[in-house]
Amino acid sequence: MKYSSQMVAKPYFIFALMLLAGEILFGLTMSIQYIYGDFAFPAIPFNVLRMVHVNLLIVLLLFGFMGSTYYLIPEEAERELWSPLLAKITFWVFLIAGVATILGYLLVPYAELAKLTMNDLWPTMGREFLEQPTITKIGIVFVVLSYLLNVTMTVLKGRKTTISIILLTGLFGLAFFFLFAFYVPDNLVMDKFFWWFVVHLWVEATWELILGALLAFVLVKLTGVDREHIDKWLYLIIAMTLIAGLAGTGHHFFFMGAPGYWLWIGSIASAAEPIPFFLMILFAYNMIKNRRIQDDNKMALTWAKGTAVVGFLGAGVWGFLHTLAPINYYTHGTQLTAAHGHLAFFGAYVMIIFTMISYAMPILRGRPHGNSAKAQKVERASFWLMVIGMIGLTLALTVAGVMQIEMQRIPDSAHAMVFMEVQAKITPVYIVRSLFGVMTLLGLLTYFYSFFVKDDKKVA
């Protein structure tokens, strides 16, 4: 560790991992409700489980991005963080707000929570992923602003690199597009239209800039390839992200009341969305092939390759499967969407956080050469358990989606089966999905265990 203020990243990483454990537990509970509708009902109805499941994901990724940034920025700027104290305060404020919101979801009925938080004053609740009470959303804005201030000041006062500027661009984009969460028009179609400005322009535009910058940083550190080369790749990746991803928002506007031209524009633009992810694979493998240093932290490189490959599979391949309007006409809002969502979020975003944690945590814990060979062996097992678990549950959801489309969507009105009957037929597949979910959880527990493997004093 070159700068002592990088240490503020540590609690962010640890808390992000704890939230991930929570997310998986809630996901598993939901998957059991899919099979036995009475499980945990009425204590926790499905919508509450889901709200917690997806909100934990968003919050854990934000914690992960913040931790990663606080680790990366001092090293890129070649100076201490502008205010380590502010970063620590931000951590606790965000933690308390996050925990209070999750408890709110679990302890009172949602309508009650809306009343308690005076949602009527400025209604923003009850929309997918943006379920947080308005007061929490305002809190998020303050947390993000203080974080941006801290990072921007550090960059301004220090060395400016392509990586840090692109990371900042992504973070400012994240903050800007979140503001659309506060706009809730009475017209449902207009509401949906701007809701995608948060959701799509986060995950398929601004977050990809963050992902690219973090991946580039780890590759600079672990391969020693010169920055000219790395920066060039980074620019190409994010250029394709914006060119395909912005107009690609149109693939959400097909069937929700927006003009018909989105059928064409959304299809064509989003068909190019796998390209930046494919470039990330070329990028990672090329840099590793041309590496000038042999770093002992082998697992960080494994995660870097993993996030490129699984991100491409989940976001690129599984996204492309249903992004063309004539296909999406049949797949829209089926389990196929869920399949894509799971592998894309895991591969592109959860895995880049793992990459950063696996790279930075050993250094933060006083092991500049990475964890011991024994600990890395355990971590490698956890990597495969999680990756195979997630790919397995994605394949199960894909089969579920195809069955649903076959029975419910393709036949005409006289022959199509009723939703609930179709779901009953899919039950065996949902059981397989749950089993792969358990595997993913075991993978995460193995990952936790790797932190406690004693150093065997041998350098690999």
Partner: protein, 148 residues
């Protein structure tokens, strides 16, 4: 291929392509905002439809159902429930909704459960009006059939 591209060229592609993409997207977004009121029949949004949307949100209905294909995939699509279960008739649909909402949760072992939301008959009426309005949005002929 990348050997022939320099960092400066890559940066120019990023700025040029990025600005081009932003302009196209913003332009189309403006046009969409202009067209959506017609495509969704904004003129038919009554007080009751607005109140119904609030009830939809305040009870997180989207946490189980999809509406025009967006939401969770645990429970049926409701964008065309007016046609499917109300035979496109207001009186039939509203009577159905009152009965359905009062009967939750259904006592069928292991069937997925819908919670009891304790809505007043007036609130159920608003919710029904919201779903009726939604069912008339121009969705480019989606869903493919009545089952949603």
């Amino acid at each position: 291929m990348s050997e022939r591209i320099t960092k400066d060229m890559a940066r120019n592609i990023y700025f040029g392509g990025g600005i081009f993409a932003i302009l196209i997207f913003v332009g189309l977004a403006f046009d969409s905002v202009h067209q959506i009121p017609k495509l969704s029949h904004t003129e038919n949004i009554t007080k009751s439809v607005v109140a119904g949307k609030k009830i939809w949100e305040n009870n997180d209905c989207v946490g189980c159902h999809t509406l025009l294909g967006e939401g969770a995939y645990y429970a049926p699509e409701l964008g065309n429930v007016f046609q499917r279960l109300g035979s496109s008739d207001e009186t039939t649909f509203k009577a159905y909704m009152q009965g359905w909402m009062a009967a939750q949760p259904l006592n069928i072992p292991d069937r997925r459960k819908m919670p009891q939301f304790h809505l007043t008959p007036e609130q159920v009426n608003d919710l029904a009006d919201f779903l009726i309005w939604t069912s008339k949005v121009n969705t480019q002929q989606w869903p493919p059939n009545i089952q949603g």
